[in-house]
Symmetry: D2
Subunit: 175 residues, 4 copies
């Protein structure tokens, strides 16, 4: 272990810029698990952290995919305990704010990929745009048209585009 | 129902039980940074992930301490961007819910350690107890008395006690 | 003033069933103010309380319409103060939770009427459906199709339908 | 831009300044209901709207007291439906954000009166101070000392002081 005093007095060599790109993967529906898992795996292979709502179906599949490639996963839960978290979450955020956690899920992504999904997913796509996060919808999915929402037809394209948009978004905000 | 394993390239041995213990470190005040940094370092040395509100003073110091020991940090921010996040955060959760993120900070800890702090910290101590999370106050700090709030006088004791209480809390909920 | 002891010991004659129907009016865009004002006025004429996000454009117009007919208005604000509240709000709820207040706006309606609007409105339509609140979109508006979302073309139809759906929703939940 | 008056049948003299003073009454515990009811009644007699968390015990008693004097009550609920709302609430705000609704309760008061209470109440006292709302604790109650928290020993004093502080707070912010 390096001497801590050195590091703590000298934050020069460790700073926020090393935070990895975080991509939120949203959606639901058992039929979409295979696509979501592939998205998660490809994101991990590209070095991005996968952020999800932490629960089942698409959320679990994306995290499972990320872990299968040795990636890192964050799950942002709606309830007041870890109950219902899927098994592939590395870092569990328990929000206690119910569906308002949807805001946190997309806000925590530098970009957002939607895989299937129902009303909750639509709320996330909308919130992502309220906050200026780029959204990539993997078709078939919510047919949302509007500035900042792109639609693609394969997991590969989704990941490629999301990472490119994430980079741009981050550069613009220089955060 | 098809066997889940079939759907995925799932690493069979990866599951939630390996989520590391997460301890929330709360507080504020520049005078408390040294103590907070020590708390963060000791937690990391013991293998716990440090969860904070992600900003300055105590939050930054605890994360800095954790990173100095090679640990992992999660920062849960109140705003809608990463702005204001300190440099020692590995995983940034942007909640967009303002001070309501205080609920998420303590809910995400298996135990909570308070180092100094003002009104925001008191809201977190109170929320931690609403949710049944054990709280360790490092004196001098908020003189809160009540079931589930313990007070200690050194970072070493704080970490020791928090980890013991976290284990108990987790066992009780078997999460 | 009636003797309070009588009332407080005897809640028989004052209870929740007298809470008036609450309808959330959501949307944005200066072009939609005229329609929103009419919706607000018609709701008030029918005895419903108008719930909005409390700010400008559609939110202000709906409240203004309600007040022009002697109705009651509730404004649910995103910030931490009353700043930005429009002048036609009777009861101001300051949430402090940013865009997560969108969840509260629609949750507080027995039904929801959307008049124009952008991404924030879409998040509200989606949240309304997550929570099972009936939604009436006044065309032209968000072209959202899905169970529980009806589209109409006049303020009169919107109000008529929303009140009918609200009654059904309330009966079902018997709240 | 067309004159706003043209767009509407707006009553010209109706504007925000007529929003009544809103006082949040927080607390819990069946033993405190009598005091809470008196606080609610006195607030209503003085023309203030009573804001509470909308549920039982102190929250119900304060609302009951207000209604016994012909006052107006707002209940801000944690859940996703009106379930659990007490019978004396005129205007029901369903937030869906769990305990984070505590932030909304105190944020919606120009001043806050605490009557008894446990951890949830402490979170509200703390949040009130984070947001700069004046707090009056009716003893016996939480023994919180700090700037902006006053302690009194009768409902009459609590209401008198809260209304005076509310006026000052509003004047300062000129909202």
């Amino acid at each position: 272990m390096p001497p801590r005093a050195f590091l703590s007095a000298t934050p020069l060599f460790y700073h926020r810029r090393v935070v990895r790109t975080q991509v939120a993967v949203i959606g639901s529906g058992g039929d979409n698990e295979e696509r979501a898992e592939k998205v998660g795996r490809l994101l991990a292979e590209r070095g991005a952290t996968v952020v999800t709502g932490g629960r089942d179906e698409v959320m679990a599949a994306a995290a499972r995919g990320a872990k299968s490639a040795g990636g890192t996963t964050i799950g942002i839960l709606p309830g007041e305990t870890r109950e219902g978290a899927n098994e592939w979450i590395d870092h569990v955020v328990v929000t206690g704010v119910g569906h308002a956690r949807n805001l946190a899920v997309v806000a925590s992504g530098d970009a957002v990929i939607a895989v299937g999904g129902a009303w909750g997913t639509l709320s996330e796509i909308a919130f992502a745009r309220v906050l200026g996060r780029p959204v990539v919808v993997l078709d078939p999915g919510w047919a949302v048209d509007g500035e900042g929402v792109e639609r693609v037809s394969s997991p590969e394209e989704a990941v490629e585009l999301a990472l490119r948009l994430a980079r741009t978004a981050v550069d613009e905000k220089s955060h």
